[in-house]
Amino acid sequence: MLLEIDTVTKTYPGAARPVLRGVSLGLAAGETLALTGESGSGKSTLLHLASALDSFDSGEIRLEGTALSGLDDTGRARLRRERVALVFQQFNLIPSLSVAQNLAFHARLAGRLDRDWLAELTERLGLAELTARYPEQLSGGQQQRVAIGRALAARPALLLADEPTGNLDETASAAVMDLMLDLVRASGTALFLVTHSQAVAARADRHLHLAAGRVA
């Protein structure tokens, strides 16, 4: 199993109730999994825990056999750098870098920039004409395509996407999803997708629903 989440609980400081209450799930290599749920159900939190961005209170998360609870800040940073990649709803590109530099950024951080793969990604994402631009000069759909390209250029084992089409209109959303699913399947990357949209979720290999901090 690529990702194992085992009875994980999480309570935010100051919150009266836990946001996750013993969540367990698994994700195999190359598999795509969609997680849906109401606002506040804890789906983004679960994604942040799986990507080692945040820590949990109890339970365990293993990525390729590595237990995340045993990692310090440096170990978590290395894991994010080398084994997972993230796509956010707000795109979160680096505004001071050009499109080309943003695309290559994560792969270079991970120390495995494959220029042919990057060129292919750039071409398939329709960004070849935009590489000299800066994020602020792109539309929302274009920025999300750069974010997907940045994530996949690093050839991660696992791509974690938090509402990747939440900021896009219907047409752009469908186009971005098509591209992302095509590319993860072509590269053998597993995808853990958090979304509100049932239509988007339906396109994944597996679909789970989170309600009140538990997998329904």
Binding site: S51, R76, Q89, N92, Q101, A104, A110, G166
Partner: protein
């Protein structure tokens, strides 16, 4: 409605207490340094005016002879013709070990003066003052120091006498100044009999000059006060950079609130008025704190400033500070004006913002970016205007205009130049993190550029003023080596003992050099005239900066004179000109020598020439070239042989050390202001980084998510600050050297009357660079620590706005 709106506006500061603290601190610092300088200036000027008022002659016209004393016969003739006049003789002399100003007057005819009026209560005091023995009035500290000095008239303390001055009868002053029968000026008393012959007919050789109120001292010290004011203004500007940055950010952060308030029906005019009132209130609070700080800074610096003014100009300034309402109002006025000036742009933008305009912190940085080109043009324009001003208005005003243009222009040029360097530098760095760091620095520049401009100004001022002071010191040390030709200086109790000492020394030492001086009025101002003997040490070492052929031969045979640089510049007395020392005594100028630290003009002639025109010049002081004899032995022998007090003997090293101590004390105030300005600039960086904190998170969080630790990012934050400070410091170096050049070659010549060679001090630059890096590192440490300790959940908020 207004109350609710005010509550909403104020809630911003409640939510951002650090921003409020920064704004108040910026205002307080700006006001503090400005008002400290103003307090010092006001106190000094009040001292000058008090000194004149204490003499009670402020409003009276006076008669003076151009280029010399008023002949006694002319005074007698005018009195006989019925004119009511009061004679004054004034000069500087050393009494005991005190160098002081002696004012001799006729207590019976002199206009009412506080110091003399206080004698009325003592029936014996006034007769004592006029009597043969005489009476001297001195300020309490001086009176205490002079009381036990042998050979002086009775000394009486009076708080009404200005600091550093002694008042006495003109007859006593003649004796103390060795200027028997001389009068410097005649005061024209207010009540004159009818039908007098006009003065211009009775005394066509005398000039009638209007009354003055401390005018001479004020004019003489104008340049010093202008220097201090420039420093104060610079510090004020540096402090306002902080205010500008904070006010600008607060307005941007409140855009959404302003839009909402307008949407809820609050007219823009009312909103602008409320924000204006808010700014004025903040200015009053910050300014009030600044005034308290300014008072404390001024009180701490005033004693050193007083020492400087006494040392450089002989100006009387008391060391105490009093609280003046004008100063308080002026300080608050400056705080309000500065706040409104820095907030005007934000207010104007707020007032003209469309009600549906999108909010955005990013817009703030982008606008600054767009303004960079205009800023660069304005910078070049200001530097050009400064150069033009120096060309069109030669002198002190032109020099200061050049300084202002140079400093402000360079500050405006800094962001575009840094932007260019960062763009070019980005191509040279390797590694993905390095590349991001440079790109990020470039992106961050608009937000931090005001703080960097403040740092540039502070560093350049430090380099410029530091180079000026150290060049001055180096020259001064070299000059002391040349000027202090003797190994030992001795002061006898009186002329008889002086002659005895000279006789005793003659067979024992290499040379005995009498130091004899008298004061004369030269070119309308008191000047010291020294008589010297022929000695190889004078010929070989005297610091002549210009001289004609066989200068020493002509001076020592009484055919010519040397003048000091101050007198040469002031009166145009360069070689070839003629200096009028006294009526019937004029000599060609054979050379000009440097004479740093002396406020007065000075002339060197041969001793016989001096004695021919000034009888009874004391013969008590001697310079001794010891030859093979150890100086310590000679000192001991002299003390034993003549029962001299230790203070009567000082060796070359001791005198140099004493002179250097006075010199260093003179520039304590400059050093303190330098450090304070640098401190304010460091604080400006800190406040910029803290206020930019909310802008930084969206830029840092993605990099953290992609695999850099918070510790890495914190280190990079510090590295970024250090790199920007380093680049700014490197750019400050040429600016500082340009500033030093203007100070040494333009301002100094106008202000002090001497030109100094410029030396370079690379070690000082390195020290300053380290200080700048330390300031930048400390400023970045707090935000970096905050970043290092930031809970991941706070960073995650950047990615999950919707949660």
């Amino acid at each position: 409605m207004r109350r609710a709106a005010l509550q909403a506006l104020w809630s911003h500061w409640r939510r951002h207490p650090l921003q409020l603290a920064t704004l108040l601190a910026g205002l307080a610092l700006a006001t503090a340094l400005w008002s400290a300088v103003q307090a010092i200036n006001a106190e000094a000027r009040a001292s000058y005016a008090r000194a004149t008022a204490q003499l009670g002659v402020a409003a009276l016209d006076r008669l003076e002879a151009p280029g010399g004393p008023v002949p006694l016969a002319r005074y007698v003739a005018l009195r006989r013709a019925g004119w009511q006049l009061s004679p004054i003789l004034e000069g500087r002399a050393t009494l005991g070990d005190q160098r002081l100003r002696i004012v001799g007057l006729d207590p019976l005819s002199h206009p009412p003066m506080p110091a003399v009026q206080t004698l009325a209560s003592d029936p014996e005091a006034l007769p004592q003052m006029i009597a043969q023995g005489g009476l001297m009035l001195a300020p309490p500290d001086l009176a205490a120091a002079l009381r036990d000095t042998p050979g002086l008239p009775m000394v009486r303390a009076s708080a009404e006498v200005p600091p550093g001055m002694v008042l006495t009868d003109i007859g006593v002053a003649e004796r103390l100044l060795h200027r028997e029968g001389q009068i410097d000026r005649l005061l024209i008393l207010p009540d004159q009999p009818m039908g007098l012959q006009p003065l211009d007919r009775l005394a066509p050789d005398l000039h009638r000059l209007p009354g003055r109120e401390g005018a001479d001292t004020a004019r003489l010290t104008d340049s010093f006060h202008l220097n201090l004011t420039a420093f104060g203004l610079l510090s004020f500007a540096v402090g306002l950079f902080i205010v500008h940055g904070t006010v600008g950010l607060a307005f941007e952060q409140r855009r959404a609130m302003i839009r909402t308030l307008r949407a809820l029906g609050l007219p823009m005019r009312s909103l602008t008025a409320l924000m204006l009132a808010e700014l004025v209130a903040l200015a009053l609070i910050g300014g009030g704190i600044g005034l308290v700080l300014g008072y404390l800074v001024a009180a701490a610096l005033l004693p050193d400033v007083a020492a400087t003014l006494r040392g450089l100009y002989g100006a009387p300034v008391a060391g105490g500070l009093s609280l003046r309402p004008v100063w308080v109002l002026g300080g608050l006025g400056m705080a309000i004006a500065g706040t409104l000036a820095t907030g005007a742009g934000s207010l104007w933008r707020g007032a003209h913002m469309p009600i549906l305009a999108a909010p955005g912190l990013q817009a703030w940085a982008e606008r600054a970016h767009r303004a960079a080109r205009l800023q660069a043009l304005a910078g070049v324009g200001l530097i050009a205007a400064g150069l033009l001003a120096l060309w069109l208005i030669p002198g002190l005003i032109g020099g200061f205009a050049l300084l202002a243009g140079l400093m402000l222009g360079a500050a405006l040029l800094l962001p575009p130049v840094l932007g260019l360097i960062l763009t070019l530098g980005r191509r040279l760095v390797g590694g993905v993190v390095g590349e991001w760091l440079w790109a990020d620095m470039r992106a961050q520049l608009p937000g931090i550029s005001l703080a960097l401009m403040a740092l540039l100004l502070a560093l350049a001022t430090n380099i410029g003023v530091g180079t000026m002071v150290k060049s001055f010191r180096l020259t001064f040390v070299g000059w002391l080596d040349q000027r202090l030709v003797a190994d030992l200086y001795v002061t006898a109790r009186d002329d008889a003992q002086g002659a005895e000492i000279a006789r005793w020394l003659a067979p024992r030492v290499a040379a005995v050099l009498p130091l004899r001086e008298a004061e004369f009025q030269i070119a309308g101002a008191p000047a010291e005239v020294y008589g010297v003997v022929d000695d190889v040490s004078y010929r070989d070492h005297w610091p002549l900066i210009r001289h004609s052929a066989a200068g020493w031969d002509r001076v020592l045979t009484g055919q010519a004179a040397f003048v000091n640089e101050q007198l040469a510049r002031r009166a145009g007395l360069w070689p070839g000109a003629e200096v009028r020392i006294a009526p019937g005594w004029a000599l060609p100028v054979a050379g000009v020598y440097s004479d740093y630290g002396n406020p007065s003009g000075q002339v060197i002639v041969s001793i016989p020439a001096l004695l021919a025109h000034a009888r009874a010049v004391p013969n008590r002081r001697f310079g001794i070239r010891a030859g093979a004899l150890p100086v310590a032995d000679l000192m001991r022998d002299l003390q034993t042989q003549f029962d001299l007090p230790a203070a009567a003997l000082i060796d070359n090293a001791g005198l140099k050390a004493r002179s250097l101590a006075v010199f260093d004390k003179t520039f304590v105030v400059t050093g303190a202001l330098n450090l304070l300005t640098l401190g304010v600039a460091g604080f400006a960086i800190l406040t910029s980084l803290l206020t930019l904190w909310s802008l930084r998170l969206p830029q840092i969080a993605p990099v953290w998510a992609l695999g850099l630790t918070r510790a890495d990012l914190a280190r990079l934050e510090i590295g970024r600050s250090l790199a920007l400070a380093l680049l700014t410091a490197l750019l400050a170096l040429p600016l500082g050297l340009a500033l030093a050049w203007v100070l040494l070659k333009v301002i100094n010549v106008q202000a002090f009357g001497w030109e100094l060679p410029m030396s370079l001090f690379p070690l000082d630059w390195l020290r300053l660079l380290a200080l700048a890096l330390l300031a930048a590192g400390l400023a970045a440490a707090l935000p970096a620590r905050r970043l290092y300790r930031l809970p991941p959940s706070d960073l995650l908020k950047v990615f999950a706005n919707a949660r």
